[in-house]
Symmetry: C2
Subunit: 342 residues, 2 copies
């Protein structure tokens, strides 16, 4: 509850110092009751909001620079999944204390990524409270060209961008360190070199939103989603909204983890890799579908956006999600996706 | 950090159950990576975001229905201050637990107010964490007609809508109850009847955003802000951005508290009332300026929007904020405004 004793303009100074910047694309930026945007004719506005909570989406002692990057990256990833071009964002922050030593690198990490995508910070709110970062992001996409979850068609190929499972592998290792235990888990341990761990950790803490790929896939992909909760869960949203099913090749999936190429020798280790790839989450890659006749266009979009894509399966008319190996033989599917309330 | 054991679709079910509704104004509503809005030609989009934290903006045991109302009301109030018509909003929620007995009335309170303003819930995010409510709201205002903080001119009259100070009076009383003390504070106690306390508490918990007044003031008001942090602080933003000063009549200000009409007999009590009115905050009324030549238009806008307005002073060319009594004699100004980081 507000205290009403003597007051300096601390909050406002704080915001000004770290977060006020030129906003050439906005009619009016930070500092009034509302920001004002001038939408461009013929464009739809894509809007997404994400809330990151300490101890749930990141460790309390995470480097604030990478946290600033990630908080914006997960929102940019939602725009990418719609094929939208980033325009602007708002930032609401609850902070336990107004610490410049934390805020400066946090703002730098966030605004460096914002600048790289031409995405302006146009407004926000700051309050004292348990650390919480809520960003709402705005993009634009030409009418009729947005990538939706609902357009997948039987016969379409299923693609994913980049690599999957590394963020979750890093998280699993960090949690074990954090808990000070190598205790039994449901997954077989994968030994990681320091280099592989650094790679995996970078994927966890500094994901690359696939904005350029998303816009390049306009008119090519029939559906898309970003992979935040795990491939199977996010592909599941596409299947549900499109009223279709899918069959995925687990041998292809096994090749998708960057930090663990070819070292899964035992069946238990393969199962662990598959679990990270299929249900790990926090990847912020795209899963999308396209007609097989558009294979060349998909590869051209991937090349133009410097985003490798891998075909991992096909859309079926029959609902449900089936896993098969390279020979088409069924693989047991007990790879489930992350839910925030379980 | 995410747990990756067996998972049901709890989070998504939860969102669907309480927050998914028809979104006729949006091209695409809840359920995809982004919502899609079609901005109307000739309109600017007004955007504001507010974050409400338990223990800071509301008591942890507050009625969830009134909390749902208030969380949206404070955002609608920002649109009102810009003269914007509400269109849509996103809701990000961190909840300690997914409790339907809390979520149902929270959603009802919020969506009833949303319906009253034709403001659609188009997207959101839900996660587990310390209770935190972050709303981002979207409105529209014809180009060139937005009310800004920067337009006040010397000679303009300064107006406020409705009543001020009651929310802060209620908060002060509730804090005393909560702390189980009538301990010495810097304010003289005001004894409140049960009726007056109920009125003040309704102002704290269910503020009325002045959306209709804001749109009615387009083309009339030269500047506007909503009163969230206290009249002096929010008027201060207008003065700062307009490069002007103001003189306010404290005898007028003394009449603005609805729950305490005419009962401030001692000088100490008057000082307490003034403190609530001038620096209490949480009022969600508008403070605005207009040329004295537009007095009739201001009153017509007030009548059309059923929002009483009171002239409480004038804008001066000299920077700074001066308080005078009805005879024009200076009143000491130690009424300061709430800051979230002090």
């Amino acid at each position: 509850m507000p205290a009403h004793s003597a007051v300096a303009m601390g909050e406002f100074d704080l915001i000004k110092r770290f977060f006020t910047r030129p906003t050439p694309r906005a009619v009016l930026g930070v500092g009034d009751d509302c920001a004002l945007l001038q939408p461009r004719p013929g464009m739809l506005q894509a809007i997404s909001t994400d809330m990151l909570v300490s101890g749930r989406h990141f460790f309390a002692d995470v480097d604030p620079r990478t946290l600033g990057h990630k908080a914006l990256a997960v929102n940019l990833s939602d725009l990418a999944a719609c094929g939208a071009t980033p325009v602007a964002f708002t930032l609401a922050l609850a902070l336990p204390e107004a610490d410049p030593a934390w805020l400066a690198p946090f703002a730098e990490g966030m605004l460096a990524l914002a600048d790289a995508h031409g995405c302006e910070l146009i407004g926000g709110d700051t309050t004292r409270g348990p650390l919480n970062i809520c960003i709402t992001i705005f993009g634009e996409v030409p009418q009729g060209q947005a990538l939706l979850r609902s357009g997948a068609q039987p016969g379409d190929a299923v693609y994913v961008s980049g690599t999957l499972g590394d963020a979750n592998l890093a998280l699993t290792h960090l949690l074990r360190e954090w808990e000070g235990t190598e205790a039994a888990t449901s997954t077989a341990a994968i030994n990681l070199s320091a280099d592989a761990m650094a790679l995996a950790r970078a994927r966890l803490e500094q994901p690359t939103p696939r904005v350029a790929l998303g816009t390049a896939l306009r008119g090519i992909a029939t559906s898309a989603a970003d992979i935040s909760d795990g491939l199977l869960g996010d592909l599941g949203h596409i299947l549900e909204r499109s009223g279709v099913g899918a069959t995925l090749d687990t041998d292809r999936a096994l090749t998708l983890m960057a930090s663990h190429q070819g070292g899964a020798n035992t069946e238990a280790q393969q199962s662990t890799v598959l679990r990270h790839v299929l249900s790990g989450g926090d990847d912020y890659e795209l899963v999308f579908t396209a007609p097989t006749s558009r294979e060349a266009a998909v590869q051209a979009a991937a090349q133009a956006s410097q985003s490798p894509v891998t075909c991992i399966g096909r859309i079926d008319a029959t609902p449900g999600l089936r896993l098969v190996d390279r020979n088409g033989l069924p693989v047991a599917n007990d790879f489930l996706s992350f839910d925030h309330f379980v």
